[in-house]
Subunit: 357 residues, 2 copies
């Protein structure tokens, strides 16, 4: 039944919120953040219970493809799909779907992120099995993360009528997608019990997704057909550059037909900031966490602090800090202010200090 | 009148409270802490209005003498007096006094520290002129720092009857020396108005000081005569090792006769911890201070924080921190906990991690 199941891992991102460890040339997905393995290694390897390496595809920019392949050498070289330049998730998901659909017209594809943390991997795999089942029936399926608080940093999905169950999980019709809400709206979402976080994980049949691209983004679909049919005649970059820079939610999901949502509680985190990374790390008895290569953290009266360093770090009388120590930059940030890191990166870029970015 | 005036700078200390910048092999006196010049450079150069370089002597251990001479090359090589090993300030002050006294029996010597900060140097020089005057009259003179708070970390000197004035400053008989007091005693000292901090700065005629050594420390005086007369016959180390490890206060000052104190308010700090260094540094409009070689501190919502680094340091949402970034160690410490740094150094030594010390 899973004979035509594929994963398409979106690895093109170059986020700035885990700076200064994460850089343009060495983004989150190729860093060992939550444990010794890199995020892409974890993302790929947790799929191995469901998929053989030849069924796992990775889409990224040209600069990162080699590093990604070094991280997961078990994947065939032809499974690394290269986008000429980043144009947000819509074109990237389209490219991967059209390419896989060309190779296997019966493909069911799970579109996943390269850099998310999932603590309960069994529940994740179970949700994929359920999603594959409903995708086979023609639904465009999205995984809906059970919200743990009234987050304003994620989009939400509202569920409607129950479609049924498969294995241990249920599927619902997706009634609507919502952009990041304000605090009051987020609170109301949580109270209603009908909303899940949109983690950007979609499971669809290639033919259904391609039909949605053809219906909603006809010009882009034409280009994606040319690319996946190898008929661009050296004009890949030019065709690619004509695609709108938009998310897959905006380009396809919000107006797709037959969208289903599978609510799942799997210990998910987008590891979006140093603060959220801290939350998923193992803490010692003082509530501190370290990520380092054999370096030591010696402390007196230090609590709830994250230390990322390859050197000896000594902390005295400090709480709730994020300390990130790299070759050329040192960051010391309050845990609650981790989202401000991106403003620093922006400031450095504006000042032409790209070496630091 | 100042024809026989000398300075003897005690530069043998290897404190641990400014670790990790200050190390055993590179202590405070050879570091540029308060400005671009090193502490020993500042200490020597502020004497130039009173003394020519040939009148300034420096006593230190053998390891540090070369570095000190590199710092102040204007001083003749023979003015660097080497103690074989540190035995606290008593033997060091004795050695320097006997050596200078041998060269000039009429010498008046100001015994000073190599690593203290003085913001009002004019008042300091004025106090030395006054001290020299009263020392010529046979007094053993000490400078008494006007206390700015009820410190428990310094010794105190109580003044008695007024001896007179010279220039703009007055001298008093020193009634008693007091070790570091508890908080209540310190408060009572401040309230009385009769107490000054003992900063370890003494001005004495060589013959008077030598007589005190002979009276109070006869064995040691015998040894110091042998050394300064060049009659130790290669036994310098052995003679030196026989001297008690004691402070000059304990060995001489507390029981000396004719001790005078000159109260002076000269913006003095012993720069004893990162917290006290922060206090003497120039702050920017956010109350932050940096010490670096061309590195940059970029911050959002950061206040009253000291950054010592040669790299780019970014701080977000933190207050009252001391951040000291060296090649092999990073320290992040609350300003009020700076005195705990020495406990870390002790811990590292006990663990045999001397490379860090």
């Amino acid at each position: 039944m899973m004979d035509h199941f594929y994963a398409l891992i979106m690895a093109g991102g170059g986020g700035t919120r885990l700076w200064p460890l994460s850089r343009k040339s060495r983004p989150k997905q190729v860093l060992p953040l939550t444990e010794e393995r890199t995020m892409i290694q974890i993302t790929v390897e947790r799929l191995y219970d469901l998929l053989t390496p030849d069924r796992i595809f990775i889409v990224s920019g040209p600069d990162l493809a080699a590093a990604l392949h070094e991280n997961v050498p078990a994947l065939p070289a032809e499974n690394f799909i290269v986008e000429p330049e980043p144009r947000n998730s819509g074109p990237a998901a389209g490219l991967g779907t059209f390419v896989i659909g060309r190779r296997d017209p019966n493909a069911v594809i799970a579109v996943l992120s390269a850099d998310h943390h999932i603590s309960r991997e069994g529940d994740f795999l179970e949700s994929l099995r359920t999603a594959e089942h409903f995708a086979q029936q023609g639904h465009i399926v999205t995984l809906g993360i059970k919200p743990s608080y009234a987050a304003t940093g994620f989009g939400y999905i509202k569920r409607g009528e129950r479609l049924g169950e498969f294995g241990a999980m249920e599927a619902y019709r997706s009634e609507s997608f919502h952009e990041k809400p304000d605090a009051a709206t987020a609170e109301a979402f949580i109270q209603s019990g009908l909303y899940s976080w949109n983690a950007g994980m979609f499971i669809w049949r290639a033919d259904k997704a391609i039909a949605e691209f053809e219906r909603q983004q006809p010009e882009m679909a034409k280009g994606l057909h040319l690319i996946s049919d190898n008929k661009v005649d050296g004009q890949f970059d030019k065709v690619w550059a004509s695609f709108p820079v938009k998310s897959i939610d905006y380009q396809i999901m919000e107006n797709a037909s037959d969208v289903a949502v599978i609510p799942v509680d799997m210990g998910w985190s987008d590891v979006g900031t140093w603060g959220t990374l801290f939350e998923v790390l193992t803490k010692n008895s003082d509530g501190n966490a370290t990520r380092s290569n054999g370096a030591e953290h010696i402390q007196i009266d230090t609590h709830h602090t994250l230390v990322v360093s390859d050197r000896l770090v000594v902390t005295i009388g400090v709480d709730d800090l994020v300390i990130v120590d790299t070759d050329d930059v040192l960051l010391v940030c309050h845990r609650d202010r981790a989202q401000d890191v991106r403003n620093i990166v922006q400031q450095l870029r504006e000042q032409g200090k790209d070496d630091y970015c």
